[in-house]
Symmetry: C2
Amino acid sequence: MRSEQGDRPARAKRLPRAVRERQILDAATAVFSQRGYHAASMDEVAVVAGISKPMVYAYLGSKEELFAVCIKREAGRLVDAVGAVVDPELAPEERLWRGVLAFFTFVGEYRDSWNVLHRQAGSEGQPFAAEIAEGRRRAIALIGALLAQAAVAEGVPEWFLGETEAMAAALVGAGESLADWWLDHPDESAKAMAARLMNLAWMGFGNLVRGRNWQPPTSAKADAEPA
Amino acid sequence: MRSEQGDRPARAKRLPRAVRERQILDAATAVFSQRGYHAASMDEVAVVAGISKPMVYAYLGSKEELFAVCIKREAGRLVDAVGAVVDPELAPEERLWRGVLAFFTFVGEYRDSWNVLHRQAGSEGQPFAAEIAEGRRRAIALIGALLAQAAVAEGVPEWFLGETEAMAAALVGAGESLADWWLDHPDESAKAMAARLMNLAWMGFGNLVRGRNWQPPTSAKADAEPA
DNA sequence: TCCTGTACCTACTCGCGAGTAAGCCTACTG
DNA sequence: CAGTAGGCTTACTCGCGAGTAGGTACAGGA
């Protein structure tokens, strides 16, 4: 019962540092996503990365540093994905639509990343809760500004300008919650999810109920409406 | 530096079990709220409760059991608060308004309870994440049914009936996020927060931007609009 | 007044997981 | 084909926190 090929993990293949670092980060993201920061153990990260613990420490430092690097990488990916599609030349509605679509596409593609950023951000005691909360706050401010811009363009009454930030917060929450709901309904497309959020944001339930639904600007038909 | 009155915690006053249990639960809710399940220590719960650790174990059992009891109590409070105001006789719009208002009132009153239910529910690895997620799912189903009811009453097109659950999920998320936003803007009233959510839900940004905002049915004016 | 049960305590054990010491192995370099 | 740098490992230490053993003190009944 020994010396067989698959029994013992055996010595890991020698790989250049950059590659191992990526593997460790991937493993750490998966483990943090599944367990949460506190419940995650460095041993498990090492095992998932197919390597021994001291390597993790040698390359990425302490558990807290490792988590920080994970957060930074995943947050960067999300910001890049959204930033790549929101041309400031475009009208607010179109910009919001593209950003929302990019967001859901990202969530669909990098589930663990989303988990680490979203679920682990909540629990306050954790190391980088403040940073993540700050990032979220910036996102809300950005969307709030976009809403305000749209509002001004439409000649909205004064009192409403104070409301855009709160509306943006609600919208961000609605997006997060829809992303969670998506996990339970994996057959939906990112586009359909984005269309749902736009419907809520741009039309409101009061309009939807009267049969008027919002449609994405370029394509012929929103996924939300079959037929 | 001893034998002074305030120096040592001294022996705690003798109290009947029921009272101590309530104190311990209050302390546990506060600690879990602030630290999260994993980072919370039973020692801290004991200190906050003004008591020694073995008492906590004697009365509430293990850490996991203690957490479970906390969750049950706070969830019960929330359910009761909302359930007390949603008369099934009422129209869907009125029912939603009352429920939303009760929700924000609860969050304003029991911050720690809300924290434990909301933030700690997220991190998946934790003991009762499944139960909390289930409760949240039930809430979404309930609101979804309410939306469907409203939709049918308005004679909405067929395709929309499949959308109500997703809309409910978005709405719940929007509510949670607004509750968080509230922490950064504590001067707002529960009523104003509830009015915001109703505006998003019932009118949508598209309507708001045209100056049409939703108003609570009974009172003369929505808090959202001053003047 | 003593006696008993229940509230309460100090002072441990013990396992788990973060972090490390000390060295082994192998792919390039000359 | 020897030398070496850097990839990789085993096998620890050590503190923190869950959970417990074995009591002490106090209120209320005999």
